[in-house]
Symmetry: C2
Subunit: 215 residues, 2 copies
C-alpha cells in the first residue's frame, strides 16, 4: 500500500518558515468554501472531516463527497458549468490549509515548505483521484445488492479479511452509494437470509468466497 504524505505533520514542522501559508480553522457546520466561482485556491484538509454538498431548490442536501484528512479539494477539480452551488462544509471541527495557485510557485525559492509541498501535491491529487474513481466504480453498479457487495468486497480485500467493519454509519453508507437507507437495510437483511453475509451493527462477515459472482 502506498504511503501517503501526511500534510498535517509536515505543516506543523515547517509552516513557521513560510510567510504566506494560511491555515484556517472551521467549526462544525461552517462553510469552508464554495465552488461557484473560480478562486484559484486549493485546499488540503489537515484535521477533521468535511463534505461537498449541493443544495437543490427544495432545500434538500445531496452529498457528493466526504473529505478526510489529507484530502485535496477546491473548484479546480470541477468544471464550472452548473447553476447549482456546491458547498464544502465542515462535518466536524476542521483545520484547512489554503493554497492560492499563483503563490504556490512564486514563493521564495528557498522555502522548504513550498518545495516539499509541490513535490507531494501530484501524489495527493492522484490519491484523491483514486478515491473518486473508487466511488464511481461502486456507482456503476445498477442494483443496491451490487453496490453493497462491491463495497464489502473492496473492504475485505483492503483489510485482507473476511470480517470487515464499515467505517462510517449505515446512513452515510446509503448516501455514499446513492441509495435509500431503508431499501439498503432490506438488502442487507436479504443477504443475511441468503447466507452471503452475517452482520451485527456495522460489523459484517463475508460468508461466500466470490460474492461478486453474478452481481
Amino acid at each position: 500500500m502506498k504511503r501517503i504524505f501526511d500534510v498535517e505533520h509536515f505543516v506543523e514542522e515547517l509552516s513557521k518558515n513560510c510567510a504566506i501559508t494560511e491555515i484556517k480553522k472551521f467549526k462544525k457546520d461552517e462553510i469552508i468554501t464554495t465552488y461557484l466561482i473560480r478562486r484559484s485556491q486549493m485546499f488540503i484538509l489537515l484535521k477533521g472531516e468535511a463534505y461537498l454538498a449541493r443544495y437543490d431548490s427544495d432545500g434538500n442536501r445531496r452529498i457528493i463527497y466526504y473529505f478526510k484528512k489529507n484530502d485535496v479539494f477546491g473548484e479546480a477539480f470541477y468544471k464550472i458549468h452548473t447553476n447549482r452551488e456546491l458547498f464544502v462544509v465542515a462535518k466536524k471541527d476542521c483545520e484547512v490549509l489554503m493554497l492560492p495557485y499563483d503563490t504556490i510557485e512564486s514563493c521564495n525559492k528557498d522555502c522548504i515548505f513550498h518545495i516539499t509541498l509541490l513535490k507531494n501535491l501530484p501524489d495527493l491529487i492522484l490519491n484523491r483521484v483514486a478515491d473518486i474513481n473508487y466511488r464511481t466504480e461502486l456507482l456503476t453498479n445498477k442494483s443496491i445488492k451490487g453496490k453493497l457487495l462491491s463495497y464489502l468486497n473492496n473492504l475485505s480485500i483492503e483489510t485482507n479479511s473476511k470480517k470487515v467493519e464499515i467505517p462510517i454509519s449505515l446512513s452515510e453508507l446509503a448516501d455514499y452509494l446513492v441509495i435509500d437507507r431503508t431499501a439498503m437495510m432490506k438488502q442487507l437483511k436479504k443477504l443475511q437470509d441468503d447466507k452471503i453475509i452475517s452482520k451485527n451493527k456495522n460489523k459484517i462477515t463475508i460468508l461466500k468466497d466470490d460474492i461478486l459472482n453474478g452481481v
Copy 2:
C-alpha cells in the same frame, strides 16, 4: 472556458527530439492496458476513442469511462484493491502516448519535450478529474429523470443554448448514466409528454427555464 493543452499537436512537433518517447497504435477492440498490476506508466490518448471496462464472471461488460482525446489514464488513478480486472480497450483505432513515471523526470534536462509535458501534466490530470467529478455528480441523482435532466442542463449551460445535441448514442448515454436504456427511453418520452423537453433523435430542446427544479 479553460484552454486544454493539445498533446497530439505538441507530440507531432517535438517528439523527434526525444529518444524515450513511445507512441503506440491500437486497432479497434485491442486492449491498450490493464489496471491489475502496477506498471508505473501513464497514458495519454492522442487519437481515437477508448473505454475503461470491467468484465465480470458472467462475461458482462460494465463500462466505467469513455476516454477521448487528451485524456490521461493508467493504473496510477486507481487503487489496486479489487480482484476483477479493469481493461482499457480501443473503441476506435487509437494512438496512445506511453509515459513511464520514472523516465518522465529522468530524461535529459534539456529535453524540451519532457519539460513541456511535465508543465502541462497537472492540467491534463485536473481536466480528467473534472470529467470524473462531473460524471459522479450525475450519478448522485437517485432517479433516471434526475440523471437525464442534470445531464441535459449541463449540456445546455456548456453550449449556452436551449437546443442541445447529445454527442454520444442514446445507448452509450444509458451506459454512462448507469441506467437501463429502455427505461431511459420511457423517461424521455414522459419528459416530452410533460412538455419539459422536445426531442428528435439525439437533438433535444429544453422547454422549461429551470428544469432542475424539484429534481
